[in-house]
């Protein structure tokens, strides 16, 4: 079953590129949507899990794959965000003759991200994070605008340096552990984790993941890359790709590989807290929707890292929950930005105003996403933030808990400011003719808004089945 998560996108990619031009163009978007939808179904529908891997190719891959509840949550998030990105791509792709290439990159990204969350080896983690990064460079530079090329280049340089850090770490771990699989490394670290070589290795890998994930102080590349990328790429990047490349690795390693380590937790707490602050205050200063949302992403990833730094199962569960919620509401926010850009030609908030009456659905879903991100009940973001604060409090990090709660106010401030400047108030004169976004964008907006509302409202009921098993993955 598990190899299918890699093989289906891969085979679809091959089929798509073997077809002739016109046929390929016609089925491209549908193909990737079906694959993503299939992924969502496969994760949520229990009987699907028992489908055996039959063909030799599946058995070939099955050796390296391993799934637990963390992987399942990620697979679900990946499926959802890829569907959203496809929808946005369908509606906004500028060079239509590149449609097949665009879908090809999406399928590759899907395979790469799935692989990342299913593997169990340090070097393979490097390989798949790298493939994900390569796909993200291509996506950022896809429209070949001057700014996006610049953003892609800076991102590339920083990203490869991070890769080198991870590689150095793997090399040192090979020296220390004699192997690179999660089990081998975990064993070695448990017995000899205090040696300077081991500590350098861990530090190097964590720094590499910080860079890939946009955690302060390595967040510099993020706003530029997110904002200059084409709209569908922004959705994919902000929604899931950066998280899979960065924080997923952190969660996986702290849970399955690194032994409980007070020093590491301290670093995570500090980095998380600083990220929240830098992201939030950075967002306050922005005048462009996409730049604001990028800084917001830095801030929200900070919350995830903060939850992780608690060192308790509840903290880990909270971090994973927030990861999922963020995938939903951040994708939604970027879809809204894409809708605004499509109809008005800009995301500069100084040139926008009062779009609420002209684009009611976009405005409403944006409001929902804003409230969820800021942690207002009954939306999903409220619960994940609450659990993070509770986890911090329970593990006696009172200062951090208070800090996280207080910064929620700043989050609410900058998001409401964005909402007010873009949607509320009197419609600006030059925007009186604006129409609501096309159905292709409205549908995913509504769908994601429903998900974030549903998860929030139903949370007390699903907390038993969803949250506690997550925490118990150790």
């Amino acid at each position: 079953m598990l190899p299918l998560f890699l093989l289906v996108p891969f085979v679809s990619l091959l089929i798509l590129n073997m077809l002739r031009g016109r046929a390929a163009r016609r089925i491209a978007f549908t193909l990737v949507s079906v694959v993503a939808l299939g992924q969502i179904v496969a994760v949520l529908w229990p009987p699907a899990r028992d489908l055996p891997a039959t063909e030799p190719l599946s058995a070939f891959l099955a050796l390296g794959l391993h799934s637990d509840s963390l992987s399942q949550v990620l697979l679900l998030s990946i499926g959802i965000v890829v569907m959203a990105a496809v929808a946005v791509g369908r509606a906004t792709l500028s060079y239509d003759k590149h449609r097949v290439n665009f879908v090809s990159v999406l399928l590759l990204s899907l395979a790469a991200m799935n692989g990342t969350v299913l593997l169990s080896d340090m070097f393979s983690l490097y390989v798949f994070v790298e493939v994900t990064s390569v796909c993200s460079f291509t996506l950022v530079a896809f429209d070949r605008t001057r700014d996006s090329l610049e953003g892609a280049f800076k991102y590339l340089i920083v990203s490869v340096v991070a890769t080198v850090l991870m590689l150095v770490s793997v090399g040192l771990l090979l020296l220390v552990a004699g192997g690179t699989s999660f089990d081998a490394v975990a064993n070695a670290l448990r017995n000899g984790g205090a040696s300077p070589l081991a500590r350098t290795a861990v530090a190097a890998f964590v720094c590499g993941l910080f860079v890939k994930g946009g955690v302060v102080p390595f967040h510099g590349w993020l706003p530029g890359a997110y904002s200059t990328a084409p709209p569908s790429a922004s959705v994919l990047l902000a929604g899931i790709m950066t998280k899979v490349s960065g924080v997923y690795g952190l969660i996986r390693l702290t849970v399955s590989v690194f032994p409980p380590n007070a020093e590491l937790n301290w670093v995570l707490l500090l980095a998380g807290a600083v990220s929240i602050a830098v992201g939030a205050f950075g967002a306050l200063r922005q005048t462009d929707m996409k730049w604001l949302l990028s800084y917001s992403s830095i801030s929200q990833v900070g919350y995830i890292v903060l939850g992780l730094g608690c060192g308790t199962p509840l903290g880990v569960a909270a971090a994973i929950l927030h990861l999922f919620n963020h995938a939903i509401f951040k994708s939604l926010l970027f879809i809204n930005a894409a809708a605004v850009e499509q109809r008005t030609g800009t995301t500069n908030m100084r040139l926008l105003g009062g779009l609420g009456s002209r684009m009611p659905t976009t405005s409403l879903t944006s409001t929902i996403a804003v409230l969820s991100t800021a942690g207002i009940p009954p939306f999903s973001g409220f619960w994940s933030k609450l659990v993070i604060v509770i986890a911090l409090w329970q593990s006696q990090h009172y200062a951090y808990a208070a800090f996280a709660a207080m910064l929620s106010v700043v989050t609410l401030t900058y998001l409401l400011t964005m909402q007010r400047r873009v949607f509320f108030g009197k419609t600006a004169a030059h925007l009186l003719e604006t129409r609501e976004a096309r159905l292709g964008l409205v549908l995913p907006e509504v769908a994601l808004a429903l998900v974030t509302t549903a998860v929030g409202v139903l949370f007390p009921w699903i907390v038993g089945t969803f949250l506690f098993p997550l925490g118990g993955i150790r």
Partner: protein, 163 residues
Amino acid sequence: MEFNVALFMFLVIAAVGTAMAGRLLHAVISLAVVSAVVSVVLFHLHAPMAAVFELSVGAGLIPAVFLSAIGATQRLTPETMQDRRREILQLYWSLPVIVALAALAMTQVRLVGLPTPPAAAPPGDVRTVIWNLRHMDLMGQILALLAAAVTVVVLIKELEHEH
């Protein structure tokens, strides 16, 4: 002189040479030299397949890619070359110094926890390792190459059309 020490010196000198090269062309050639030395290192460490790979890719494919890129972008006149050399020397004079100091410092440190290498055990066959153990890596490589191929189509083919 012991072979390891000789390799070490070649390695470091070639690397620093890459940094200090005045012209991009020289930097690329220097990079190829580094590749060749790395290849010898790999061979010396009983990693022949990796050595061959490194040589063919690092001293062949990679310089070829660089050279075609440089060929497409080079428009420098001899005068600019002279300024460049002075600039590079200004920027990078500290590098050999730093490297020498770092080398001195590192060789004095006694690293604890370093395992002693076992007696010359014959290494397992690389082919078996890759085919039987590292399936995910294989998949990853294939995906990476495909991603690069798509990028070439998206970025570079357009470049030719737009001319």
